[in-house]
Structure formats: C-alpha cells, structure tokens
Assembly symmetry: C2
Amino acid sequence: MSTAFGDPRVYERFWRQTGEKSTIIIPGWQSMSYFSDVTNICWFLEAEFASEVVRLHTVVGNAVTEGRHIVVGTGSSQLFLAALYALSPTDAPEPISVVCASPYYSSYPSMTNHLKSGLYQWGGDAASFEKEGPYIELVTSPNNPDGHARISKVNRSQGFLVHDLAYYWPQYTPISAPADHDLTLFTVSKSTGHAGMRIGWALVKDKEVAKKMTKFIELNTIGVSKDSQLRAAKVLRAVSDSWEQGNSQEGESFFKFSHKLMANRWKQLRLVVEHSELFSLPKFSPAFCTFFKQVLEPQPAFVWLKCEGNVEDCESFLRAHNILTRSGKHFGVSPKYVRISMLDTDENFSHFLERLSAIKS
Amino acid sequence: MSTAFGDPRVYERFWRQTGEKSTIIIPGWQSMSYFSDVTNICWFLEAEFASEVVRLHTVVGNAVTEGRHIVVGTGSSQLFLAALYALSPTDAPEPISVVCASPYYSSYPSMTNHLKSGLYQWGGDAASFEKEGPYIELVTSPNNPDGHARISKVNRSQGFLVHDLAYYWPQYTPISAPADHDLTLFTVSKSTGHAGMRIGWALVKDKEVAKKMTKFIELNTIGVSKDSQLRAAKVLRAVSDSWEQGNSQEGESFFKFSHKLMANRWKQLRLVVEHSELFSLPKFSPAFCTFFKQVLEPQPAFVWLKCEGNVEDCESFLRAHNILTRSGKHFGVSPKYVRISMLDTDENFSHFLERLSAIKS
C-alpha cells in the first residue's frame, strides 16, 4: 500500500517553516452549506480556491487558465473518473476504450474497470491501440512512473485527450510553455505535497464537459470538502506569495526549496546508481525552464529503476534487500523495472540510498 | 438544484454560539500524508474522528458500535456507492438488483445507474420486487422523503441490507434503541448540519465488506479529506460535550437546541396546513425517546406534502406560488406529493410559511 501512491512527506519541512502564513482557522459555523456558488457550473467550487488556482498557474506559467472552466475534485482521482464519465458517449453500443502509453500509472486500469462500467473500459497500451472509432487517451506528462515528457500517442481524429499534469511543476521538470489542452488535471498532492487534503482541479475548455464532470461529482460525493478547498486556497496563496516575496528576500520560496531538495536527492541517487552495474536510470535531456529562467534537468517524483543483467524480477530482488518498490508489471511493462518514490521523508530516503548502495553484484 | 439536498442551514445559529469550542486550527505542515493509520482496515480514517463517532453514538444511544469497523467517506453518498461495490457478487452473470420501498430518496436510482455498472443496477420499488436470487435493499429510517420509521420490505434470504440512518438523530425522531445492523450509514450533513464538510461514516459488521468499501474509496478518491475529518471530530466532540455539560448548566446542548427548533417549525407548519383544505401531511405516532427520556413526536427534516383535491401536479402548483419543491415523481410515487426541506434558514422558512398560508382554494 505505502509504495502505491508516492506519499509526498518530503515537503513537510518547508511548511513547518512557513508558520502562520499557511495556517487555517475555521470556526464551527462556517462552510455548512452544500453550495458555494449556484451561479457557477461547478456549484461546489469555492471562489477563493478558484482564484488561487488561476493565480498560481499565472505565477508558474504551466497552464493556460483563460477560457477554462475550473472543476474541483476530491483529488485528481475523482476528476479522472469524472472525465471518463463526461467524455463517454451516452448511447454507444459498447464502452469507449481508455488507453495510455506504457509504462502508465498503475491505478488507471483498476480505476477504469472496477465498476465494470458500460460507458468506458480499459483498452491498454496506447502504442498498440488499433480499434476504430472514439477513444479516450490519457497523456501523463511528465509521466508517472518514468518522468518523461509526453504528447498523445494515438494520432486519430476521434480521440478525447485527458492530460494528467500532476507533475508539471518546476521542482520536477523544466516548464516549457503554459499547457493548453482541452482537459487538464492537477492536484495539490504533488504540487504542494498536501496529499491528505484530497484536492485536485481540472481546467476544462468545453462547457458541456465541465457540466458533466460536475454532475459526476454530484452523484459521487455531492461536492468536495469546503474545508480542504479553503485550506488549499491558503496553501496555494502561500506558494505564490513565497515566490513573489522570495524575489524580494522575504524567506525561501516553495519552488526554490523543493527544486533544491529534489536536485540534491537526484544527485545522491545518481552517484549511487552510477557506481553500480546492477541498475540503470532513464536518461533525461536538460531544457530551458521558463519559470526558473535557466536550462535545467528533469528530476522526477519517482525513480524508474531498471535492474540490469540477470535479475528478471527487480521488485523481489530489492525486497530481499529491504527496499520496497512497485514492479514494472503494474505499469504495463517488464518486471525488470520498478518505481520508487523520491518524495518520502529524509530518513526513509537515506535508508533507501544506504540499502541500494550496499547491494553488490 | 437547491431543492435537491435539503441544505441544513438551520443549525448555523447554534454553531455561532459555540465560539472557539468548535473552531479548528490546522497548520500548513499537518495532515500532509495520504495515510492515517496503515494498521487499520480503513487506512485513511483519522483516529480522532473514529473515537468521536463512537462516543457520540454512545451518548445518543442510536447505534451499536461494538464489533463494528468504521469506514469514513466523502459524505454518506460515497459510502452508499462503496456499499454497492462491496456487496455486489464479483462473478454474477448479471448485475445485482438494488431496491428501496417507495417513496425513496430521489438520488438512489441515478447514483446506482449513472455508470451503467455491470455489478449492480437499480431495481425499483422494494414493495413490488419479485426477482429471485441476491439483491441489495436500502432501508432509510426515518425515511427520506416521508419521515416514517422503516424496516426492510423484501423478506427473503439472499438480501443484503444497507441501512441509511442519516436522520436517526433525536432532533428528527424518537430514538427507540441502538441500531444494530450489518451495514449502517450516517453523515454529519444531517446530524450536525455540516454539509460542506462532506463527511459520512459507515458502521460495518463484516471485515471483508469493510475492506472492499475501503478499496472502493481508494479507487474513487484515494481516501477522504483529513482536514474535514479533523473538523468533524471537533464538531462531534462539541455536540457530545454540549450534552454532557448541558446537564450541568454549561450552555444549551446541540440536541436540545435542534429539537426545540424543529418542534417549533413543525408546530408552525401544522397550523398552516390544518387551516388549509388543499394540503395534508403524513401522520406520525409519538413514541418514547430513550435519549430525551420522554414520549415525543417525529419531526422530520423534510415535509412530505400532499396536494388534496384536483391538483395533480403539486410541484407546478406550488411553483406558481413561488414555493420551490421536489415532485413525488422523483421519489417513485405520484406527483400529488412534494418534498420540502425543513432545514433551510429562518428567513427562507418564514417565506415558505407565508407563501403557503396565502394559497386559497
């Protein structure tokens, strides 16, 4: 379980430093209603949260928000399901195929199939998808698990694209341009590290799609926790503030902190792996980051480690050395690969490196 | 939309009076992890919330918690869907039927059918359900929309029962005994009035069912907002405290406040309806309430109003008089009935009474 989600414990230290700037106080009488704004398509969206989402995307430059409807969800998982519901044709003779190029996020197949929906079904690897007619393609960029930037794979006219940009933040990857797609998913879990809030958001171009996604969330959970939306607003504001004030020496900015931290971890990891003939890492190309205004290397939230040589089952091999990972087979590829979180606590990350470097061939 | 859920704005006044006792403060670094307790079946359940749930049921005497697993959900809606997922046979040749005696909660059919699941499907009115084999019966007691106490209707051996006890609280109905069922749903929306929190809980006897419900919530939203769980814990604690301290004159208790308020509203409503030949209300029998230790009348969260005489479409008739209601047809019965919330603000409730009493035959 604990290897499944990449628990973002690594950011706790930053948030301890911010003190009251990120503390929220909610009196007992507040946010009692189901409704936030009945004139908005997404009637349970807190205005404060929505405006901090727009502001943060403007500060970071990672997504176009103009001409988009914001739909808030209980994490981006719920928005992923809402998107499937909204994009599936209602009167199709058979379920629409949902595909993603492998290696893909290990939860996509089970999230898509667990209710045996007649609207949509998992169609497997986008690279080998041949079926005629409409389909939904998930484009995760940077990709979970392997960290590579991606564009859509199935290049046909009847495709609906869902862009899962959970990791398109400057601490993980150079920001190349504001994402400008039909339907884009983000989440606080990976951006600020607040996984326990369960808050995600979708930027949706088409009004009818935004309406249907909202309808799904109404049927699923009658809206999204207001407490967490208000807290997310506070935390996103602190991130934007820290960047703007960071330029005027008011303490460290969140993205500088998190970028430095990831850079440091990746440097340590590369040292260990380069000294070993047993393992290899994906190769990334440096690129210009419009946010940090310099050429930078990707430093993904996950290690996508390959066991070289004779080891066929990398997960079992590492488990024997007390390292818990998630096998490549869950991601639609060979068990020679495993995924390991780079977002765990300092203590756990140190243990991981120690154990990894102690393995001799 | 705003007539669909029965927004519980009525309790705001109580929570304003409680001041700091119900205020929550969450620093930015808290509750960042996905996990609450990995040793618990429901690994995203906050221990503080769980213990306040147990305490409140003990104080009120409305449910047995011993020998039960607590599963927290994003409102009881999510737990309803989790229960369907958990109780559906995995290898059945066709979807299991989900039934409820009419009039039933208007969202049950669409929540059950919106994904065209191959696991379960809406089977309609439990009273006329004849199909052989396994089925799921929803028992809502007191019932939404009509306020009557209920027991299961389909009396056969292969049924799974889901007891939706959202309204089994002393302000709405006399508490007769602690509910002692296999799977029971509760929610803060109707108990304390905090609909915006989206927090519900299930008391589940069978360990495997609790595990599957937890799995559903993992696939649906990867857990439940920790912020709202912590806030719910605080609010439930304030309710229990107010009852225990109320007996020692420390200010009004929540249930005395809310019971008095509902009693007052029902009294006013009965006066208006009794003076009219156009409308009638359900008849309720008084019963001994083990919580208040006296014989009391039910005073439901909804009015289930019947248009007498020639009016066939009660919703349209009332809309013409500026009263927004929800037609009986959504609840599986005649459009001569409508449902109206008794939990709206004082202002809206007054408007409703004024408008209703102004209608002449």
